[in-house]
Symmetry: C2
Subunit: 495 residues, 2 copies
């Protein structure tokens, strides 16, 4: 009875969150520019309401009662997750939460201006305020070893900063070797715009992307594909997941890979059992696990030569100028490994280096070992250390991502962890299905989806990510599979 009541209260909160999701989706897609200011107010109001529901005495009582009663694994996990969330929220002073919302909104605006004018000083003070609040929040939540743990746990429950640093150490060592071996061979490779003239009409690109995600199993009755400046996935409600992509008239692959990435997120959201929807158990296992699904479809599948075999005839139909381009040439155009400034457009090897750089900087900021004032210089030093290139300007450097201005500290590692989880998942999948290359080149994606559903989606957030990856692969979290995959793909010609 009280588990049922707890669920009812949690669904009530989920409904308010659903409204917030739609408000945010609309803000990034269809809102007329003059409506943005008021929208921020609406979002602030609803966030405060959710905060008050998440810290209400009523919820506390319901958790307490349900705890006595929960018997099956799912209910026990539900109570555990809800309690953790509740206790965490209770520790954050309400005024601090409200101040955080307001300061974030200001910092995001200043970030946009700073980026446009390529002037970090515009953002500096505001970002210092954000870091100060983040530190207060982390201290309110509490931690054992490292203040950063309090933030990381939100996105990667159970993972400690110390463990993450070990992983980074391994990754750095191996990636730098890999990069040194691959890059010289890739110097002569040509990008799509260099091998293919002519434009790719936007409406054709959109049609193609829709067809592609449908083929992957994205049901248009339960979601949408729209356009936004930065591609994203928003879970709006039960059976309503919206993804976006962006289009470049000279290079269809931008839209295609973004659509594949977001489709990966969407398939995860839509694949979690309906009975868990809206409950804390009904999320993905972690941010990193969510990213793993996105990166899996985008890179492990989408950038493979077997996937190209499958989509080449479809591509030729939509974009006839591609007919004269061979499979090998196209694969190369999609897989050039090269040191560059921008994270989101970087290749599978250097992407992780971009992430580690950010992780180290944000960990230093949060622990008071780096000031926002010194951040641009530290960024420059890390760029040289990790990517061997000199910072060019703020825009393609420290100002390229909105995360910090948004107060999103502790998220960046999820992108790298996503790649690492995907590596482990990929090897297990290959082993289990036997003929992955054939499956992909024939476009039999439901065989892959079903496997992912069984091994990952069906569990929602019942297990912590470190436990889930063990259940899937039979091994502890390990970056060696990702390194192995990259070595196979870029040095042994297997992909």
């Amino acid at each position: 009875m009280s588990v049922k009541e707890l669920k009812r209260e949690l669904l009530r909160i989920a409904k308010i969150k659903s409204a917030i999701s739609l408000l945010q989706w609309d803000l990034a897609t269809y809102i007329p520019p003059n409506g943005i200011e008021w929208r921020a107010e609406v979002l602030g109001e609803l966030s405060e309401y959710v905060f008050s529901l998440l810290t209400s005495e009523r919820l506390g009582e319901l958790i307490y009662e349900a705890q006595e009663e929960a018997e099956n694994e799912e209910d026990i996990a539900l109570v555990r997750l809800t309690k953790k969330e509740y206790e965490k929220h209770k520790k954050i002073p309400r005024d601090l939460f409200i101040e955080f919302q307001k300061k974030r909104a200001i910092a995001e605006k200043l970030w946009e201006e700073a980026r446009k004018k390529d002037d970090f000083s515009i953002l500096q003070e505001s970002l210092s305020n954000i870091v100060k609040i983040i530190i207060e929040i982390a201290d309110s939540i509490g931690y054992e070893e490292n203040r950063y743990d309090a933030l990381l746990d939100e996105h990667e429950p159970g993972l400690k900063t110390s463990k993450l640093k070990e992983i980074c150490y391994y990754m750095k060592e191996n990636l730098l070797i890999l990069l040194g071996e691959i890059e010289p061979k890739h110097l002569k490779l040509k990008r799509l715009s260099e091998i293919c003239d002519g434009e790719f009409p936007l409406d054709k690109q959109k049609e193609f992307c829709l067809k592609l995600i449908n083929t992957l199993g994205f049901d248009p009755s339960s979601g949408r594909l729209d356009t936004s400046a930065h591609p994203f996935t928003e879970l709006i409600g039960l059976k309503d997941v919206r993804i976006t992509t962006r289009y470049d008239e000279r290079d269809f692959s931008q839209a295609m890979f973004a659509a594949l990435h977001e489709c990966g997120h969407a398939l995860y959201d839509l694949g979690i059992p309906e009975r868990l929807f809206g409950l804390p158990t009904g999320d993905g296992a972690s941010s990193g696990f969510h990213e793993s699904q996105a990166r899996f479809w985008e890179n492990f599948i989408g950038r493979s030569s077997h996937f190209l075999i499958f989509i080449k005839p479809i591509l030729d139909e939509y974009f006839p100028q591609l007919k004269k381009i061979g499979l090998e040439e196209l694969w190369q155009a999609f897989n050039i490994v090269k040191r560059s400034y921008i994270r989101v457009s970087s290749d599978e090897v250097t992407y992780n280096l971009h992430i580690m750089l950010r992780f180290e900087l944000e960990e230093a900021l949060v622990n008071g070992n780096l000031s926002v004032h010194d951040l641009p210089q530290a960024w420059g030093e890390k760029m040289e250390e990790y990517l061997g290139i000199k910072a060019r300007d703020f825009r393609s450097g420290v100002l390229q991502d909105i995360h910090w201005a948004s107060g999103l500290f502790g998220y960046f590692p999820s992108y790298m962890l996503g790649n690492i989880y995907a590596g482990q998942i990929y090897f297990k999948l290959k082993k289990d299905v036997g003929n992955l290359e054939e499956i992909v080149s024939k476009g039999e994606f439901n065989l892959i989806s079903n496997w992912l559903k069984e091994k990952i989606y069906s569990f929602g957030k019942l297990y912590e990510p470190l436990e889930l990856v063990k259940r899937i692969s039979g091994e502890e979290l390990s970056p060696k599979y990702l390194i192995e995959y990259l070595r196979d793909k870029f040095l042994r010609g297997e992909s």
Copy 2:
């Protein structure tokens, strides 16, 4: 100080309402079909929250305090309107409100099914429940003369059912005479599809509609034009008003007139002073006044020959097949007066007869003088009485409008009152500007908008509609101007 606090609380409520508006807009435009069920839950949850805020002790106290302090006209009106709203909501039992929301959702679904299958019996029981609840709500709110007053006051504050009946009496008498005189002359007139071959591409229609509403003063930075099954206007937030239209490939005028109609609503919403936004004083004066602005642009301006002079060159550019059609022929195609079944597609004369029929039936239902069981037969009798045509089926009869299934009783008169207000406004505008025909044929719509802004928009809901119409026209509410306008237009050839 306490007026300020009252305003802050009211804006808080406005923010939640803003989220509801977006959820509803999305439900009618972009939601994927499988997401509809959950959306209904989200809307129910937020409606309950708004209800609880509107009936909170805190709001009661704030009103009480603000009442002591309000000095200027705006603040006094604010307290008056808020108090009225508060007291009304306080009288409705919370459980009744929640039941109403649920029953409405059910009835709306059954209405859709009943309409599709052309079977009134599918809806009958559910609609009876709605009527029962509506009666309970009206009795909770209270009234002096007629139970219908309690419902009418929501949409047309200050207007009594007895007065409305007088107006209908006058309207019926005059419209039936008019119809008898006009219809025989219109028998030979041809519709657009009869004089013009070929299709009107949807993208061209959309471009044209956008250009048209921009010309009328609709700022695309503060709103959008989208597509939906039934055109509507939704005020999403400050400087964010969204309108929709629908497209018929064989007849562009469907989309054009719907866009003009909704644009009229939008211009009203956007024209109300920003300082009133989100407050009860920041609405339109009444539903009828809102409709007056929609019908004014759609019919008084949009269906006039002078407007055609202005848009014909633009139309020819977008739709070359129209070049060979003369102005007179086009005007006729847009203005055929003919008895028909469907309200939304009826002409300016018979439209009001459709409304009176509905008003009489809903007034009888609400007062227990008619049962839902007998509604279809009563509908048929009224159709013969008012329009002289026999009911054909349910779909084009009693099942054509969603209003009753949605629990929207007391709204229908707003459409007719809108025409009547528009008539009075039109004559005063003509007098004030002197050369309306020339202004319209030259497309100098800002002269009209500025007048409307000064006389109507700028007052928001400060005055009740019967007072506002007197302030604008110098006369009491009177249907004679509408009749005069129709006579001028259809019998004296002035339009």
